[in-house]
């Protein structure tokens, strides 16, 4: 696993009264090169039409950024492809593309392309750094305005952040609390204050604070779609998940050794596993009856372990929540929510999966969702990698 991690997350609030957004954020990571591409697009208008425009733009920009084609050509293809708005008789959508490639020296090279979105912010710790960009005019046939693309290439080090947002953020509060809206300067000041108070804030939390502030400035009824994405280069935060008893008793000590040496948060998922770990660590498991829901058995407490949960049911629900990208605010305060929160705040997730079969789970009267541990762990891994760009490793014991 790498010594740096690129934490990418975003937050979005739709325009008041809309059930679909006209801002689209896409992210993907190449598993081999670790290249990350993030695309943010704001479609003309709002609702379904804007969503179609933004989705088209973001997806095209995303795909084209992985191709060797020159960016001006890519931009022209995108603009020529967009459908024409029936009311305004123009085809238009903004976009920002960040192509992020980790280097061997713990730095990251970013190629940034911006078209008509508010300027992307580059923070080094709590200080904002100017992005020196080259402006390229497209001279596209049939263009209704000067189409200028800003292109920049720069380096980011550990502790740096890239923050991109749509005009729903910079224009929030316009005509209400602020005559010209929050504006870029206001956003910079807000982020600086947060980073001074909480230098290690995760991308998820920072993006959420920014969109929440913008929404508040709009009187909690957003005037436009509000989207903010944060890319944070940091030391990886590691979590270890231990689930299932080792295949033989002799391997219990090996499991204890691995857990003791692990530098990061630890989750034990499984009643029998928890009992083994408690014995190895000479401590006790205490069931916490304040944390459960009818769908998931209670979490437990154990000294030295950040979270102890039941195994298969909890893991199954964690997998579903991660696959569906369920908001933690929509979950009851149970073991699944705590599990997901720990995972979302981690960058590297290691699994140690015990392969002993639990005879009690082979009973035909047990619900079908008590599946095979390896399958459920596979689902959790896949969702963490694909939906949240986390790095995972798996080991059987």
């Amino acid at each position: 696993m790498n010594e740096i991690f690129i934490d990418v997350d975003y937050n979005q609030t739709y325009k008041a009264g809309q059930k679909i957004g006209g801002d689209v954020f896409l992210q993907s990571r190449d598993p081999v090169s670790q290249q990350i591409v993030c695309t943010l697009s704001d479609g003309l208008g709002n609702g379904v039409k804007a969503n179609v425009l933004a989705n088209l733009t973001a997806n095209m920009a995303h795909k084209l950024s992985f191709s060797p084609m020159h960016l001006t050509k890519s931009a022209k293809i995108i603009m020529n492809t967009l459908p024409v708005c029936n009311e305004r008789k123009i085809s238009y959508s903004t976009f920002t593309i960040a192509d992020i490639r980790p280097n061997l020296d713990k730095t990251v090279t970013v190629q940034l392309i911006e078209y008509d979105n508010p300027r992307v912010l580059h923070f080094s710790h709590s200080a904002v750094i100017d992005i020196v960009a080259q402006e390229i005019e497209l001279h596209r046939e049939g263009a209704f305005k000067h189409e200028i693309i800003r292109q920049s290439t720069f380096s980011m080090a550990q502790g740096d952040r890239l923050i991109m947002f749509t005009d729903g953020v910079t224009q929030s509060g316009m005509g209400r609390s602020l005559p010209l809206g929050w504006r870029q300067a206001g956003v910079v000041e807000f982020i600086t204050n947060i980073l001074q108070k909480d230098p290690h804030i995760s991308s998820r939390e920072l993006a959420e604070l920014i969109t929440r502030r913008a929404s508040t400035l709009d009187g909690l009824a957003a005037k436009d779609d509000i989207t903010c994405a944060v890319i944070y280069v940091r030391k990886p935060r590691k979590t270890l998940i231990v689930t299932g008893p080792p295949f033989t008793k002799e391997r219990d000590a090996q499991l204890g050794e691995r857990m003791r040496n692990f530098d990061g948060k630890k989750i034990v998922s499984g009643g029998t596993t928890a009992q083994i770990v408690a014995r190895l660590f000479q401590t006790k498991v205490k069931v916490d009856l304040s944390c459960w829901s009818p769908q998931v058995p209670p979490a437990s407490k154990m000294a030295g372990i950040d979270l102890v949960t039941e195994g298969m049911l909890t893991l199954g629900k964690v997998a579903t929540a991660l696959e569906n990208k369920t908001s933690i605010y929509a979950m009851p305060d149970d073991a699944v929510r705590r599990f997901v929160m720990l995972l979302l705040d981690s960058d590297h997730v290691s699994f140690i999966v015990g392969t002993k079969i639990n005879e009690a789970h082979q009973d035909p009267s047990i619900p079908v969702e008590i599946g095979i541990r390896r399958t459920i762990v596979g689902r959790v891994r896949q969702a963490l990698e694909q939906n949240y760009l986390k790095e995972t490793v798996l080991e059987y014991i």
Binding site: Q275, V285, V287, D288, P294, P297, P298, E310, G311, A360
Partner: protein
């Protein structure tokens, strides 16, 4: 003279939880307050009683004053606690 502190451990292992244990955890809703007052109720990880071929010994399991009971429903739990109270 009745017993004034009844130790109750409800198994919250997977097998018990999905076969009725979740209902038992709602004990505050179905236990009489007078009974609740004299009970110390906690959850416990697997009591290892579910790994048996005996069809009579089915989940959920509850341990009351050190004795494990099988097939415990909310109604059965009330009966067991009444028995323990008057033991």
């Amino acid at each position: 003279m009745g017993q004034h502190n009844i130790m109750v451990k409800i198994c919250v292992g997977t097998a018990c939880f999905v076969q009725g244990g979740a209902d038992l955890l709602l004990y505050e809703d179905f236990l009489d307050p007078s009974l609740l007052r004299i009970c110390t109720i906690e959850g416990t990880s697997c009591l290892h009683c579910c790994k048996t071929d005996d069809q009579q010994l089915r989940a959920p399991f509850v341990e009351i004053n050190g004795v494990v009971h099988a097939n415990v429903t909310p109604k059965r739990l009330i009966e067991l606690l009444r028995e323990a109270q008057h033991a």
